[in-house]
């Protein structure tokens, strides 16, 4: 059989979960990570990262809106996906998706963004013209109360929403890890570590993404980059990256040590079919290189220019590395036979519904949406006429 080495159960030869299922955890990971960065400022009062606060929220929203698309494109019957809302099977982690997604989108992200921007929205509903005026008026929900007391209430409620948002973000992405981690049939996936590893790598990717977007948008707006902010973001990136890497290494060492019945098959797979994506892209280029760069910055004095360059490089490598990690989990988990006697090949299509072009489009779309969001809800205090800075803490 073409593409098959050794023996595979006859139904296993074709992969069922394509690159779209690689993208889905990647996208929700970026959402969770961006939100955690935003919560650093709001809940943990890390004031240095304030300039990224609103941008992080909008980034999370842009990616969250795109998140269901790869799933819909993958389903055999997307027109039936509403069934997950009607008759969710409570024993299935996947059934959680609809509700967790809706909760996180509506009750956390949209509410938090609305509360934080409300004063600006009210102002813009009064100062804007044409159809934009109606858009902002709709967003005010008919209330123009921006008295100090109302804003103080917003701040308090927003704080609670962010607080609730942290475990919600963990749930939004953690359950994806559980979807894989709870499959006893697949030893590459089955592990209690899976949700934790997914979550930490999500935080890494989200923080890296916001860091890059902040630097990019500052450059586009010809504004100076707040180095104290970026240095702090990069420091948190490094800490979480070290935890993430340690978790992944623990899983690896445990596997090698116990060497159960699946080990020989998986080991061979990692050294052959997954060599480039796992050893080279994920570990060397995507994890060790950025960690070393970021750690170097902590122990050596670099100029701001040098630091910016290192942040850009390490940020990009991180995003590539985390994408590779998702690939290795999803695709890797389907390349070997559950008989542990063979391997198949993943032939990614170019033009089809689940192909490469669609995947590229799905990764560009959130950036386009973000471009629209920063126009409608500017995260920066100086650009837009009549806008005021983000609501500051009440004390």
């Amino acid at each position: 059989m073409p593409g098959v080495e050794g023996f595979m159960y006859p139904n296993e030869v074709a992969l069922n979960w394509s690159v779209l299922i690689v993208l889905y955890p990647y996208i929700t990971g970026l959402v969770a990570g961006a939100f955690i960065l935003a919560s650093l400022e709001r809940v943990f009062r890390v004031e240095a990262v304030k300039p990224t606060y609103r941008l992080a929220l909008l980034t999370a929203l842009a990616f969250l809106l795109v998140a269901p698309l790869p799933l819909q494109l993958h389903l055999g019957h997307p027109e039936r996906s509403y069934e997950m809302y009607l008759t969710p099977h409570r024993s299935s982690a996947m059934a959680m998706f609809g509700f967790v997604y809706l909760w996180y989108l509506m009750a956390v992200l949209v509410v938090e963004i609305w509360l934080d921007y409300r004063a600006d929205i009210v102002l813009m509903s009064q100062s804007a013209s044409g159809w934009k005026r109606w858009m902002y008026r709709a967003m005010t929900l008919g209330s123009s109360n921006v008295s100090p007391r109302a804003l103080a209430i917003d701040e308090r409620v927003g704080w609670v929403v962010t607080l609730v948002g942290i475990p919600s973000a963990f749930l939004l992405h953690g359950y994806v890890g559980f979807i894989f981690g709870s499959i006893k049939a697949n030893p590459w996936w089955s592990s209690p570590m899976m949700p934790v590893v997914f979550l930490f790598s999500a935080m890494v990717s989200g923080i890296a993404a916001v860091m890059l977007l902040y630097m990019l948008t500052a450059r586009l707006r010809r504004q100076p980059i707040d180095m104290r902010c970026v240095d702090t973001v990069a420091r948190y990136l490094l800490y979480i990256f070290i935890i993430d890497f340690s978790l992944e290494m623990l899983d690896l060492v445990h596997r090698i040590y116990e060497a159960d019945e699946s080990f020989r098959s998986l080991d061979f797979m990692v050294h052959s079919k997954l060599y480039f994506s796992q050893i080279v892209l994920q570990i060397l280029v995507g994890t060790l290189a950025p960690i070393l760069m970021l750690a170097l910055i902590q122990v050596t004095k670099f100029s701001a220019m040098a630091r910016k360059r290192l942040y850009v490089v390490s940020g990009c490598l991180t995003l590539i590395g985390i994408l590779a990690m998702r690939w290795n989990v999803v695709i890797g988990g389907q390349l070997f036979s559950k008989s542990f006697l063979g391997y198949t090949t993943y032939k990614m299509a170019l033009v089809s519904r689940e192909g490469l072009l669609v995947s590229i489009a799905l990764m560009i779309l959130p950036l386009a949406i973000l471009g629209v969001l920063v126009k409608v809800l500017p995260p920066w205090p100086d650009k837009h006429q009549g806008s005021i800075p983000a609501a500051t803490p009440a004390h």
Binding site: H89, S143, A150
Partner: protein, 156 residues
């Protein structure tokens, strides 16, 4: 001053959410299939739908209702436990409408499926190297398939 005076916008938001939840509950009661949950977390009617699929193999008891003579011949031979449709293929159509003639299987192709010699088959199982066994003759030249003991000139 009422504590809710400056929270009007929050109440509007809450009202929208509540309306959404209510709408969901109402719509749901119309869309969920009636038989869902009848036996478990699935559409109860699915069981009957699956059970109503068309049958293609009639089953040897049905064949034996009419073809008693074949049954008699088979009962005492080595193929006693081989069901009719194992060789003759799916015959429900013929059972539905006996005037439909399904045709006889070609022994040149059929018999070797089981009896071609292979080191993989159980040692006690009758197997032959077809070419050297019959020198190219069709199997029914010497073997009556319903009772396959060797009988030179068995073909009818």
């Amino acid at each position: 001053m009422s504590p809710f005076k400056d929270a009007g916008h929050l109440f509007r938001l809450a009202a929208i959410f509540l309306a959404g939840v209510l709408a969901f509950v109402v719509i749901r009661s119309f869309i969920v299939p009636r038989s869902f949950g009848q036996y478990g977390h699935y559409r109860g009617n699915a069981i009957a739908e699956i059970a109503a699929r068309p049958i293609r193999f009639a089953g040897h008891q049905t064949c034996e209702t009419c073809h008693i003579d074949v049954l008699e011949k088979k009962k005492s031979g080595k193929h006693a436990q081989v069901n009719c449709e194992a060789c003759h293929g799916a015959l429900a159509r013929h059972a539905d409408d006996p005037s439909f003639d399904p045709g006889k299987p070609d022994t040149a192709v059929l018999c070797v499926r089981c009896h071609a010699a292979s080191a993989a088959k159980p040692k006690g199982f009758p197997q032959v190297e077809a070419a050297e066994h019959s020198g190219g003759l069709a199997c029914q030249t010497c073997h009556q398939p319903h009772n396959p003991v060797f009988n030179a000139g068995a073909a009818q």
